[in-house]
């Protein structure tokens, strides 16, 4: 049995899946204390029988995301080696920042050694100011982490509580994002640790081994709770990933589609291109920071069932303010859900007064008012869909072959999930003139998406035969290679190393997604090869049978 739990803006959704079938699901009201709510929901939902044949529990939580949004963060000291490029002031994200002297170039060659003495005095300062979490980031550190590691070694004698080095977070190039990701990874440490400890206590109390507890990542993959302790940042923004994945499996693995999840507070839109969920090219944006945290590309609209409908300056405004049904009382208000119900002839007396008042302000009938609200809402969704399609079709293309023969993304249908999906379906279909499918279990699709996730990861190999070096930052591999090393050998090494890391069992689960080999010419002579390979674990999403 697999249990999935998804924390939404309004509810906590749980689902249990056995033999590819949804055997139980429940929505819990989300309380004030998030960690308590999660534990309570888990405790209530997971019966002792479930534990007997439990395969895993996957949690998609917003604990760390909330901490960032509410600025409930740890103090962080940052050691940043900026090297050559933009002026680094904008990178000062830490509570204390130190710019170290030194530079590694784009091929991973040390141009100037890092000045460890000055770093040490900065570390001393950090400690004196009571900073316990330390982030270390260097430019081009994924090509050669030598400087980051030297600083890491130096930091040992200062006994920081939590230290994070940039190159371990992602193998992708993007220095500012590496700096921000490392900072955030440090900044959410305490809050995540609190969550971690609560889950640990829960697992001990209910006798569930910790190996069976997983966290959903924002790229839709899952990671064991034990493995994420040093990377709390990977627990952020899992909500959109859960819904995208839920929509994907529930619609029987469509090829080109848009997945729309309409929840209580927001509507999340994700994109399926060529049978794969589209990912952010670099990573998620968290709060104000762009990061290297691998994530499903999704657009969010501040529109949900509980969005309050208002009239501002003679025009209809929906959301982002939300109100729950039980808040109805003295102050009459109308939510988007009310409008959907009214226009789908589920006539409700209780909303009549509010609706009458709003429509009379615009001097139109209640029916026309509802039409107006819905077409406004559809337009809000449509705008984000267009934005997404344009974005995907404009992703950089670097080869003639891809430019000439690469396919343009054109979705064939919308997969609509979330509470009000049935009510919204006819309107989307009519106004956008595209097939809209509402799959079974649309109410708890995100919890399903969370439950069925599989381990996901990306690996970037760079081999430089002039230097005789090969790097795979994600696996912490830096090794020597012979001068006649080829792309075929590189692929073999990468797959071997991934298998050895025990993240997958089967060679077929590793997929090479990008490969290139450049002849390096110096003084008109061939002198080596620059080989680049990107691989990922093939997502193995569970097939649902009903």
């Amino acid at each position: 049995m697999i249990v999935g739990l998804d924390v939404g803006g309004t509810t906590i959704d749980t689902v249990a899946i056995e033999n590819g079938k949804v055997v139980a699901f429940k929505k819990f009201e989300r309380g004030r204390n998030l960690i308590d709510s999660v534990l309570e929901s888990l405790n209530q939902f997971i019966s002792d029988e479930m534990i007997l044949n439990l395969e895993r529990i996957t949690l998609s939580t917003t604990v760390t995301t909330n901490a960032i949004v509410q600025n409930n963060l740890d103090k962080v000291g940052m050691i940043i080696e900026n090297g050559i490029g933009a002026n680094p002031e904008f990178l000062m994200c830490g509570d204390m920042n130190f710019f170290a002297d030194g530079y590694i170039n784009n091929r991973g060659i040390e141009v100037k050694p890092v000045n460890i003495e000055s770093v040490k005095s900065a570390l001393q300062n950090f400690k004196q100011e009571g900073i316990e979490n330390l982030g270390i980031v260097g430019k081009f550190s994924v090509r050669n982490p030598q400087h980051e590691l030297a600083v890491y070694e130096a930091a040992k004698e200062y006994n920081f509580k939590f230290v994070s080095v940039g190159y371990k977070l992602s193998g992708k190039l993007n220095f500012p994002r590496r700096v921000f990701s490392t900072y955030l990874n440090c900044a959410v440490y305490s809050i995540f640790n609190m969550f971690y400890k609560s889950i640990l206590a829960f697992s001990q109390e209910r006798k569930i081994p910790l190996e069976k507890i997983f966290i959903q990542k924002p790229d839709g993959g899952i990671v064991n709770l034990q493995n994420i302790e040093c990377f709390p940042i990977f627990s952020i923004l899992s909500g959109p990933a859960a819904s995208a994945q839920g929509g994907f499996v529930l619609s029987n693995f469509a090829k080109n589609a848009i997945i729309i999840d309409i929840g209580g507070t927001t509507t999340d839109i994700a994109f399926l291109s060529n049978g794969n969920l589209v990912l952010e090219p670099y990573g998620a944006k968290i709060g104000k920071y762009p990061t290297l945290v691998r994530a499903i590309y999704s657009r969010s609209v501040g529109l949900g069932a509980e969005s309050v409908v208002k009239i501002v300056d003679d025009t209809v405004k929906i959301g982002p303010e939300t109100k729950r049904w039980y808040e109805k009382g003295k102050n009459e208000f109308i939510t988007f859900y009310d409008i959907l119900q009214f226009s789908n002839s589920c006539y409700e007396n209780s909303i009549n007064a509010g609706l009458k008042s709003l429509s009379s302000q615009l001097n139109i009938s209640q029916e026309n008012f509802c039409k107006l609200v819905i077409s406004r809402a559809v337009a809000m969704i449509e705008e984000k869909i267009k934005e997404g399609i344009e974005y995907i079709n404009n992703l950089p293309v670097y080869t003639i072959n891809k430019l000439l023969y690469g396919e343009k993304f054109a979705p064939q249908k919308i997969i609509l999930i979330g509470g009000p999906a049935q009510l919204l379906k006819p309107h989307l279909e009519n106004e956008l003139k595209i097939k809209v499918e509402v799959p079974k279990h649309y109410m708890v699709a995100n919890a399903i998406g969370c439950a069925i996730g599989s381990i996901s990861k990306e690996y970037n190999l760079v081999a430089d035969t002039i230097q005789g070096k090969l790097v795979i930052p994600e696996l912490n591999i830096y090794q020597s290679i012979p001068a006649d090393f080829t792309i075929e050998q590189a692929k073999k090494v990468l797959i071997e190393k991934v298998l050895k890391s025990r993240e997958v069992k089967n060679q077929d689960d590793v997929e090479i997604v990008d490969e290139s080999s450049f002849n390096m010419i110096r003084s008109f002579r061939f002198c080596g090869r620059m080989i680049r390979i990107k691989a990922q674990l093939k997502p193995k999403l569970l097939n649902l049978r009903d």
Binding site: N87, K112, N174, N394
Partner: protein
């Protein structure tokens, strides 16, 4: 999100799957480290720096710029078509005001491609900037255009195409032709009879450094631009003046390129040459991008940058000062010079050209005749021999008077194919192209 001062559109088309030959300097790896540097710098994250994908250029724009012999399809590669298409795409993004400035980082380059082209010269087959100019004139009715060529090699192809075109001011700064390919670009090359002074060449001595380039900018280029008042400024941004370039002998640095770009403030830059792919391109390109976007570039320096070592000699400084004075006096006296030329050549102005195709190892011989016309810049007739072909190419300029236009068409109609392998007519005025045999 980060925001730059100016919105900037970039086209990055490294053509990772195209090369001339396995060890050629114009190769797949050329823009690899630049793209690495741009990615690591996080440039894609600036909210007003936008990346666009290029499209292939339509044959029509090639036809209206070049006479491709024997045909477009037989000599122009897909990669060249994409590079020219990139120039058009970036122009379109700037002219439609989607972005304020644009930079196409593309390969292969184009500024050695002449009006008549038989194939590859200096890695160029078709001229990216010249094709862009045809597009700008046709689609946006742009009149006055300035092309500033800062590649280390003389932009002889661009000079050839706009030789007799007063609406296009062409200024080339380059290592002098006695020491570098293509061996042209001297101060006495100043344009055809109707556009005298609208081609200006600044041949610079080897080992000219930042100081010399910026002197030319301050003392010649900017004053001339202020007087010319172009509607648009295009920079043929070759990066082989860099001190580490393997093909040239200059001492320009990334800081110098950035300063030059900032002062020139072109609307559109198009990458030309530059073959120090590891030590120069990542830093120079970054410097240019930062300067175009108005981002502080003071921290962009090559790892081995040493301004003292790169300093130019006093002799070079003195020479450049005299050079700028001389060229400026050409600009100032252009009307007088035009009058004199037209007095001497009352009917047709003719020049003989011998053009060497270095990449392919053959030579083209040309006789170019420009009609002296009182009402327009004049009909152009080119008789070209190369590779066993004999071509008559007729150009009706975009500002042609009715008489010249009619004369061009008549000549095309009345010329027997028998004497020529190709009879071709470019009617730039009505944007039409004709060929015999069809």
């Amino acid at each position: 999100m980060l925001k730059a001062k100016n919105s900037l559109g970039l086209i990055l088309f490294p053509a990772f799957d195209w090369r001339i030959s396995p060890t050629h300097p114009e190769r797949e790896e050329r823009l690899l480290y630049t793209i690495d540097q741009i990615e690591e710098e996080g440039l894609f994250d600036y909210e007003n720096i936008k990346i666009f994908n290029p499209e292939m250029v339509a044959s029509k724009y090639i036809e209206m710029t070049h006479f491709c012999i024997p045909t477009i399809s037989s000599i122009v590669t897909v990669s060249h078509k994409i590079a020219a298409g990139s120039a058009i795409t970036i122009a379109q993004k700037v002219l439609s005001k989607e972005v304020e400035k644009g930079f196409a980082l593309i390969r292969p380059p184009g500024h050695h491609a002449h009006r008549v082209t038989y194939g590859d010269r200096g890695f160029c087959i078709i001229n990216n900037e010249a094709i862009m100019v045809e597009y700008l004139r046709k689609e946006y009715k742009i009149k006055k255009i300035a092309i500033i060529d800062t590649d280390c090699h003389h932009g002889d192809g661009t000079q050839d195409i706009f030789w007799n075109d007063k609406d296009v001011l062409f200024i080339s700064l380059h290592q002098d032709g006695t020491t570098l390919y293509p061996g042209t670009g001297f101060t006495d090359e100043i344009g055809g009879p109707s556009a005298i002074g609208y081609t200006l060449n600044l041949p610079l001595p080897p080992y000219t450094s930042d100081e010399g380039f910026l002197y030319c900018l301050d003392n010649l280029i900017i004053p001339v631009l202020e007087e010319f008042k172009p509607d648009i400024i295009i920079n043929s941004a070759g990066q082989d003046n860099h001190y580490s370039d393997p093909l040239t002998n200059m001492n320009f640095s990334a800081q110098g390129y950035a300063k030059l770009t900032e002062k020139l403030s072109p609307n559109i830059s198009v990458l030309e040459g530059g073959y120090s792919i590891e030590s120069a391109l990542p830093y120079v390109n970054l410097g240019i991008i930062f300067a175009l976007a108005g981002i502080d570039y003071s921290n962009i320096k090559e790892p081995d940058y040493n301004p003292e070592r790169l300093k130019q000699s006093q002799r070079t400084t003195d020479y450049i000062k005299r050079l700028c004075e001389q060229v400026y006096s050409i600009w100032k006296s252009k009307e007088e010079r035009e009058y004199k030329v037209k007095m001497v050549h009352q009917d047709y102005y003719a020049r003989k050209k011998s053009i060497y195709y270095d990449t392919m190892g053959f030579r083209e011989n040309q006789l170019e005749k420009i009609k002296i016309c009182k009402k327009c810049s004049g009909l152009i007739l080119i008789d070209s021999f190369c590779l066993g072909y004999r071509v008559l190419a007729i150009v009706i300029p975009h500002d042609a008077c009715n008489d010249c236009q009619n004369e061009g068409h008549k000549l095309f109609e009345n010329t027997e194919v028998g004497n020529y392998s190709h009879v071709l007519l470019q009617d730039k005025k009505s944007f039409e192209f004709f060929r015999k045999p069809s």
